[in-house]
């Protein structure tokens, strides 16, 4: 949507519903304007007592919270605390007692939560102004003002989105947005095991980004290596699965192939086994003494006592994870693409056959262009999913083999698994957060560019 049409839409919206927040402050009556200070007053004056009381209750609750905790939280957000926990000898009880010190991580969390709460209350405040102004306008025009029950009924009808979206928005805010902002903030602190900053830490600005981009440091060189492999992995993992799944689907759906249901069953069965189970099984099977090596030895394909280095040689490990990813992913791709393939208009193929095209030509001239057109959003989603594909790498190789003992990442580590290692194993929370942010930036730029260029962008909803 471009700017002018957005503006038009906004104007249309305002014409339809003139009760804006600014309008209320500019043109509203005394009661409406006073609602900015005493929330809900405007509603109560015009007879909407329960609604007004609800607004007032929100205001009082917020103010009480702010004066008991909120302002302290906000103040601590700046310094992140400085009081160290200390041991004090208690003469009476003859024991060491710990004084209550600051914990920067909690201070950061509470501060951010307070900020978010303030944002939400500001939004409600705007709502009260609008609502008060609306009630005033209706009263002036001599129209009916909704009673509380009518308001509640509207929640099931014209305001249904408020009823349905509010609970999920609440959980998204608390469990997705707040943690994300929290982690992003960590990228600008020295919250890390390095320098013993696990309890008390400070804001350090862009320091961590500098370390990671400095290719002379260990972390810096590791970052570029891991990034390179992540992109290679995501490219191969996406397209090998896509083409293998598509060709398999075409072969199974051929008119001449019989027992379609049976073949599909064979390939879909592995995807009924939970992914982490099949990955763990694969890992044990490919160990030096695992089933695959045993089988190869029994068949005499490799000498006794030797084994193929599936996860011990860097190149072998990389090829292995890509191959196993095909094994894991193709059933899903097969299922997903079957439906899309069946949607290709049959007359296209009939026309091609009449014109004498063979099956290879029809594949490249009809199937592929159509599939690319329809599934671009799907491909982008899969690519992003593969960049963030934690399960396959973590459960299969765990990022191993580690070739360079000084670095924190192995040969098959992706940015996400490296992030996991940095935060959970090494407790370099700040560096982990920087890696996360950089992953996001790479993905965002990449997918926006491809998405905007694709033809299916204009059609909302895609396939």
């Amino acid at each position: 949507m471009n700017a002018t049409s957005a503006l038009k839409l906004r104007r249309a919206y305002q014409a339809q519903n003139p009760c804006t927040c600014m309008g209320a402050l500019k043109n509203g009556g005394t009661a409406t304007k006073l609602s900015a200070v005493v929330m809900g007053l405007g509603n109560m004056v015009h007879g909407q007592v329960p609604k007004g009381l609800l607004f007032l209750a929100v205001e009082i609750a917020y103010l009480v919270f702010m004066f008991t905790n909120g302002f302290h939280n906000l103040a601590m957000l700046v310094s992140l605390g400085s009081v160290e926990r200390q041991e004090v000898w208690n003469e009476e009880l003859q024991i060491f007692e710990y004084t209550h010190g600051d914990q920067s991580i909690l201070l950061l969390l509470y501060g951010l939560a307070t900020l978010m709460l303030t944002g939400v209350v500001f939004w409600i405040w705007r709502g009260t102004l609008k609502s008060a102004y609306h009630a005033e306008c209706m009263a002036k025009a001599g129209k009916h003002i909704n009673t509380f029950t009518e308001d509640l009924k509207e929640l099931l009808d014209s305001n249904l989105y408020r009823l349905l979206m509010t609970p999920s928005m609440f959980f998204i805010t608390v469990l997705t947005i707040l943690p994300l902002v929290f982690m992003i903030c960590m990228a600008f602190t020295n919250y890390s095991k390095i320098g013993n900053h696990l309890v008390l830490f400070d804001w350090v600005g862009l320091e961590n980004f500098r370390t990671l981009f400095d290719s002379n440091s260990v972390l810096g060189s590791t970052f570029w290596r891991v990034l390179g492999w992540t992109l290679v992995w995501a490219f191969f993992a996406t397209f090998t699965n896509y083409f293998a799944g598509m060709i398999l689907a075409i072969v199974i759906n051929r008119k001449e192939t019989k027992y379609k249901g049976f073949w599909r069953f064979c390939f879909v069965l592995p995807c009924a086994v939970p992914m982490f189970v099949s990955l763990l099984i694969m890992r044990t099977m490919l160990q030096p003494e695992g089933a695959v090596n045993v089988l190869l030895r029994q068949l005499g394909l490799i000498a006794d006592g030797t084994s193929l280095p599936f996860f011990t040689d860097p190149t072998w490990a990389r090829v292995t994870v890509i191959l196993i990813n095909i094994w894991v992913g193709v059933p899903y791709t097969l299922l997903q693409l079957t439906g899309v393939l069946q949607n290709i208009p049959a007359d296209l193929y009939e026309a091609a056959t009449v014109d004498g095209a063979n099956s290879v030509q029809t594949f490249f001239r009809i199937t592929l262009p159509y599939m690319f057109y329809v599934t671009t959003p799907y491909l982008i989603a899969t690519f992003t999913g593969n960049v963030n594909n934690f399960n396959v790498i973590y459960l299969l190789s765990g990022g191993d083999p580690v070739t360079d003992l000084a670095s924190t990442a192995g040969s098959t580590d992706l940015l996400v698994t490296w992030l996991y290692k940095l935060t959970i194993d090494k407790q370099y929370y700040n560096v982990g957060a920087v890696v996360g942010i950089l992953t996001f930036i790479i993905l965002a730029v990449g997918s926006l560019l491809t998405y905007r260029r694709s033809k299916s962008y204009r059609e909302e909803g895609g396939f």
Partner: protein
């Protein structure tokens, strides 16, 4: 002329038969590759010899002990308890997240409100962040609310699995988009509220995607292991099946528990496999977005 034509027909038939043979051979080889690990797990789950490393591919003798051990030996790894935990979590989070997802998709597809576009953009942006980035932070938040101790861990896990469900609306919304708007308008004229349209028209018309949603959200807790691991930490009595199976492969347990791991894997795969194969049709339809020409 006629003999030549016959010859051509015959050779065309031969080519066709040859092609079919090639296709069947390739498909069979691929099917074997795909089924090989599945078969191996099933064989391992009945294997009498313990340990993860074996010298033969086929077990020397078969037994049911691995399954019995799974349900009776509860001293170290309490599998029945884990199973119940996961079942409870799966049912609750299935109900919650199906509700969140379906209602959000309906709102985005059918209703027009000011935050609609911003919401969809926000969901897209959030989807680009690595999911594990915020995991540690989620743990801190849940801990601050007191949900990481005792039985509250279950509530924490349910919230984690269902809380963000409304962000994955794309497929469901795409499906709802294909239901003609005229139906809604007609219902509105007849005096239906939008809630009634949602429950009495949109949902019954979208059976495939509703089933798909319920299915995926039910399976989620059974197959996720990393979130459960970070949130459960040392609360062994709150473990889900996935962590339990993972622990059986740790160094100290693998020798005794490997065959039972296979048994556990088979046990949780069976219901999922049945559900999956039964509902395969809906899965395909759901992905295709019901725009069948």
């Amino acid at each position: 002329m006629s003999t030549e034509k016959k010859k051509m027909q015959r050779s065309a038939k031969r080519i066709k038969a040859r092609n079919n043979a090639i296709v069947y051979i390739v498909l069979s080889i691929l099917a074997v590759i795909w089924l090989f690990p599945v078969l191996w797990v099933i064989l391992t789950s009945f294997r009498a010899e313990k340990g993860s490393y074996v010298s033969t591919f086929f077990p020397k003798s078969f037994t049911l002990d691995n399954y019995i051990k799974l349900f009776t030996d509860t001293s170290i790894l309490n599998f029945p308890q884990m199973f119940l935990n996961t079942l409870l979590i799966a049912i609750c989070s299935c109900v919650l997240s199906s509700f969140f997802l379906l209602s959000a998709s309906y709102c985005l597809s059918r209703l027009r409100f000011k935050l609609r576009k911003p919401y969809m953009n926000m969901a897209m942006i959030l989807g680009l962040f690595p999911g594990f980035m915020s995991m540690v932070a989620v743990y801190f938040i849940l801990k601050a609310v007191g949900l990481t101790e005792g039985n509250n861990v279950r509530i924490a896990l349910i919230l984690c699995y269902s809380g963000g469900a409304a962000l994955g609306f794309q497929i469901t919304k795409g499906f709802f988009d294909t239901i003609p708007m005229a139906l809604d308008e007609a219902a509105l004229l007849d005096g239906c509220t939008r809630w009634q349209i949602f429950t009495k028209i949109t949902l019954p018309l979208s059976k495939p995607i509703v089933i798909y949603t319920i299915l995926t959200s039910f399976i989620g807790p059974w197959v996720d292991f990393i979130f459960a691991k970070v949130i459960c930490r040392a609360n062994a009595d709150q473990y889900t099946v996935a962590i339990g199976l993972w622990r059986m492969l740790e160094k100290e347990y693998i020798d005794n528990w490997y065959t039972s791991f296979a048994a556990g894997a088979v046990l949780i795969s069976i219901p999922i496999a049945i559900l999956f194969l039964k509902l395969q049709k809906y899965y395909v339809n759901g992905m295709a977005g019901a725009v069948k020409g």
